[in-house]
Amino acid sequence: MTQLALVIDLNVCVGCHACVTSCKEWNTSGSAGPLADMHPYGKDPTGAFFNRVQTFEVGEYPNTQTVHFPKSCLHCEDPPCVPVCPTGASYKRKSDGIVLVDYDKCIGCKYCSWACPYGAREVDPERRVMTKCTLCVDRIYDETKPESERKPACVMACPTSARLFGDIHDPDSIVSQAIRDNAGYALMPEWGTHPANHYLPRRRTPMHIHEDELTRSDNPLKVDGLLPKPAKSEPSLDDVMSW
């Protein structure tokens, strides 16, 4: 069994939205037709996105951390959105575990979006069907691309490599290792959806400042202090004043 998934390192994400724009760019240019992008320069722009980056502030000033949180379909291993679909348009692929929507079968009843606790699905207001992250299924198997580019567009775009892509059922894959080594976790475990996507937690990077890092050893102002002490036999002021 293969379960493809993303692992997102919150410790590295800088919140640049490159994954959002590259996702939109790739998925609006594909064979499934453009993703809605309505009044982009108007007063109330709206449209469908498969990926969003949100920002949270954790803690109270002055002890705060800003957490950028990329959010897309988690490709749950037990997806609650799939069995509720009345037409079978929403399905999970046995071969690689990707949860997909057949846009030609979807009737746009929105029931699957009600059944997703993560809000990962968005109705395309122009095509009037449910859309969601496909893990770039039209890219990752594209043999005309070099092996190194057969990854989701968001993974390719991330400038800090905060996004990893691979098979979480393969214990030796880069994603399984990252989850193991860095305490990767799933979102809202209380609903038993077993999300395939995992997040790597923030890790504190403590700064140790040693005393010698504060004082420059060759500071010219302090250079006198480093001169060797005069020898005992040399004349000193004590010889003059000692009567």
């Binding site: 939205h17 959002v20 009044h39 109330d44 722009p45 709206t46 449209g47 469908a48 996105f49 969003r52 980056v53 949100q54 920002t55 949270f56 502030e57 954790v58 803690g59 109270e60 800003t66 957490v67 949180f69 959010k71 609650p80 069995p83 509720v84 679909c85 009345p86 037409t87 079978g88 348009a89 079968k105 979807c106 009737i107 746009g108 009843c109 929105k110 029931y111 979006s113 009600w114 059944a115 997703c116 606790p117 993560y118 809000g119 699905r121 968005e122 109705v123 207001p125 009037r128 069907v129 976790y185 799933a186 979102l187 809202m188 475990p189 209380e190 609903w191 997040y199 937690p201 923030r202």
Partner: protein, 324 residues
């Protein structure tokens, strides 16, 4: 959740239609057992079935306005093994067909004998159709309610009370309508139907109040901590990731102040239960008063359904707390 008027009309109209059909067949069973005078088949059963059918069709038509692609609606019968929505899509037309046959059999007087009980009671085809229709009507209540009750994280909905409420409220509005209809079509059974409408409305008040009390005591299972997986009591969302609106900011909240929600609660408790109870008790066999009771109760149930949706708090809203 955002209350969509197509779904409000769907659930309230078919609920009243199912209740009306159940009321018609209840009268037939009582008349069969000679507990009630037999009403005129043509005026009461046939026209009553037509009214029930009209309500069911009205609900079905309303449901199409909920769909993005109504022309593909036929596909929705496919996944009845897993989806309650799909089951509803199958049971609703089946009930409509049986109601049509039931009304047609009464209209044409088509009553071939199916069975003669040892007591000499003759069960004809209309009784057979009535039994099948009754089973389908209850199955439809179950399907409609389970669409909502089967979503575990919409905790206001995920309760057996949802099924009880849909059944009782649909039954109450249907029996009230049947009483009003009988005042013109079969005055001899008006009292009987108004009495049952009173009982069902009272039971509906009890079960709906029970679910209101249950929902008021719910503690959320999902929190912002589990939503983003960070263990800290103070987490504030600073940005949702976009400036304009999106499907996620529109579909999952009712967008009205909390005061509106509270007022709607009192409005529906009064309009769906208290006022109809008073009118049913005072009506006697006055047709206009019973019709008024149904009209008030139906509007009250629309408000009840609006509240049912608006009160449900979807966990995805945890990701959209900082909507600008």
């Amino acid at each position: 959740m955002r209350p969509d008027f197509s779904v409000l009309f769907l659930t309230t109209l078919i609920g009243a239609g199912q209740g009306l059909f159940l009321a018609l067949f209840t009268v037939q069973l009582y008349a069969l057992a000679a507990l009630l005078p037999a009403p005129d088949g043509h005026a009461f059963y046939a026209h009553g079935s037509l009214l029930a059918l009209a309500l069911l069709v009205g609900g079905l038509v309303a449901s199409f306005f909920h769909l993005g692609r109504p022309e593909r609606a036929w596909r929705s019968a496919a996944k009845w093994r897993t989806s309650w929505l799909s089951r509803e899509v199958i049971v609703l037309p089946a009930l409509m067909g049986v109601v049509l046959l039931y009304g047609g059999a009464h209209l044409l007087g088509w009553k071939p004998t199916l069975l003669i009980l040892p007591s000499g009671l003759v069960l004809d085809a209309t009784v057979g159709l009535g039994v099948v229709g009754t089973l389908l009507a209850f199955a439809l209540f179950l399907c409609t309610a389970m669409i909502y009750a089967c979503l575990p994280f919409l905790r206001e909905w995920a309760s057996p009370l949802t099924v009880v409420n849909y059944t009782l409220l649909g039954g109450a509005s249907g029996f009230t309508l049947a009483a009003a209809f009988a005042a013109w079509a079969a005055p001899e059974v008006t009292h009987f139907l108004a009495g049952w409408a009173l009982v069902l409305t009272l039971l509906g008040l009890v079960s709906r109040s029970a679910s209101l009390i249950r929902n008021a005591r719910l503690k959320p299972k999902s929190t912002i901590q589990t939503a983003i997986g960070i263990k800290h009591p103070n987490i504030v969302q600073k940005a949702v990731g976009f400036l304009g609106g999106s499907f996620n900011t529109r579909e999952f909240c009712h967008g009205k102040p909390a005061g509106t929600l509270r007022s709607v609660k009192w409005v529906f408790l009064a309009a769906a239960f208290v006022v109809p109870l008073a009118l049913l008790a005072a009506a006697g066999s006055s047709g206009p008063v019973l019709a008024l009771a149904f009209a008030v109760q139906y509007l009250g149930l629309l408000a009840e359904r609006w509240f049912f949706f608006a009160q449900a708090n979807h966990p995805q809203n945890l990701y959209y707390q900082a909507v600008a």
